[in-house]
Amino acid sequence: MLDVIRKMFGQPSKGNGSSSDAKQRLKFLLVHDEVALTPAQLDMMKNEIMDVIKRYVEFDAEGVEFRLDKGDGHIALVSNVPVRRVNNTRD
């Protein structure tokens, strides 16, 4: 009922906010279009690079960040790999 009254007086009813989904997906898409690398290809690249890193250090696979980022004017490949501390004392 309240909603009906609100509508009668012309206050906008709540939508499901899909426009922010649209905006996010669009931004993501355009960055990938610009470097001609699909999200799936970026994922493959990430996996190959992680395989190399794995040979040298131990890291927390869950916490890995690997994405394209559009700053002002240029696109950067941004990655953050949380490395696990190792106990360096020898026996």
Binding site: M8, G10, S18, S19, D33
Partner: protein, 269 residues
């Protein structure tokens, strides 16, 4: 000074032909001599939107192939002085014309007209290349949807690569009610993403459909807010400084009550 403006989009069906027709009418109403060229060869539509389909004898391909004089192929609109259509061929395909042909044609038209508008076909192939070949400026039409804006972004890059700097955007089928509910990207969202100047906003409206049913572009209608939106865009094309309104739907008791009673099926602006 004469100017050739191409109306393009990448994605099909976003409103290039509707926009071309209404801007041509608006520019002519403002006292300019205007020709609008249907470059969608094989899928002729602009003549129908303008209500001139019964008067076509020759077309663009006839002119390019030298089968008739340019002047003979032009159809003069009888509703407003200074408005002409050069129709597309319906039974040929886009490869019947080359970018060089279009450059020559546009150069000839610019001698006679203040504005040469080109209604570009969808896509980025031959028809697109032909359409932008002779143009001085590009208008990019999009709707507020992810797929259309993605294609518009691609077109911005392509027209800039063809030395058409600073393309301008027309945001078509805008629904302010959906924007305020958070269910449609706002014009600010879209401009932030596309980084291009906004030339105008045209709301989504049933009037567009009824006017194309009749072959009477809405820009002819003095009382229509949609017609007014096109006439304002034409003013901006001519260099006038005209504000772009919000198109916030009229809210409050009466407009909403009327809508409920079915007196006006649409958002009022």
């Amino acid at each position: 000074m004469s100017e050739c403006i191409v109306v393009t989009s990448g994605k099909g069906g976003v409103g290039k032909t509707t926009t071309s027709a209404n801007l041509a009418v608006s520019l002519a109403l403002a006292g300019n001599k205007v020709v609008v060229v249907d470059a969608d060869i094989g899928l002729r539509n602009l003549d129908v939107i303008l209500g001139l389909e019964n008067r076509i004898v020759f077309d663009l391909v006839n002119v390019i192939e030298g089968e008739c004089k340019l002047k003979v192929a032009l159809i003069k609109d009888k509703r407003v002085p200074g408005l002409y259509l050069l129709p597309a061929a319906q039974t040929r395909d886009k490869n019947a014309v080359t970018p060089d042909d279009m450059r020559r044609l546009v150069a000839d038209l610019k001698k006679e007209f203040d504005y040469v508008l080109i209604d570009c076909p969808a896509g980025i192939e031959q028809g697109f290349k032909n359409s932008i070949a002779g143009a001085d400026r590009a208008i990019i039409v999009t709707t507020p949807e992810v797929s259309a804006i993605r294609d518009a972004d691609r077109i911005v890059g392509l027209v800039e690569a063809h030395e058409l700097p600073e393309p301008m955007l027309i945001l078509n089928r805008y629904r302010p009610g959906m924007v305020s509910r958070g269910d449609m990207m706002s014009r600010e969202d879209i401009l932030e993403i596309l980084a291009i100047d906004l030339l105008g906003v045209v709301p989504d409206s049933e009037e567009i459909i009824t006017s194309s049913n009749r072959g009477q572009p809405i820009a002819f209608d003095d009382d229509s807010p949609i017609g007014a939106a096109y006439r304002r865009i034409a003013g901006r094309i001519q260099g006038e400084d005209i504000e772009i309104p919000d198109f916030t739907p009229k809210t409050g008791f009466w407009p909403t009550f009327k809508k409920w009673m079915g007196l006006s099926g649409q958002e009022a602006y």
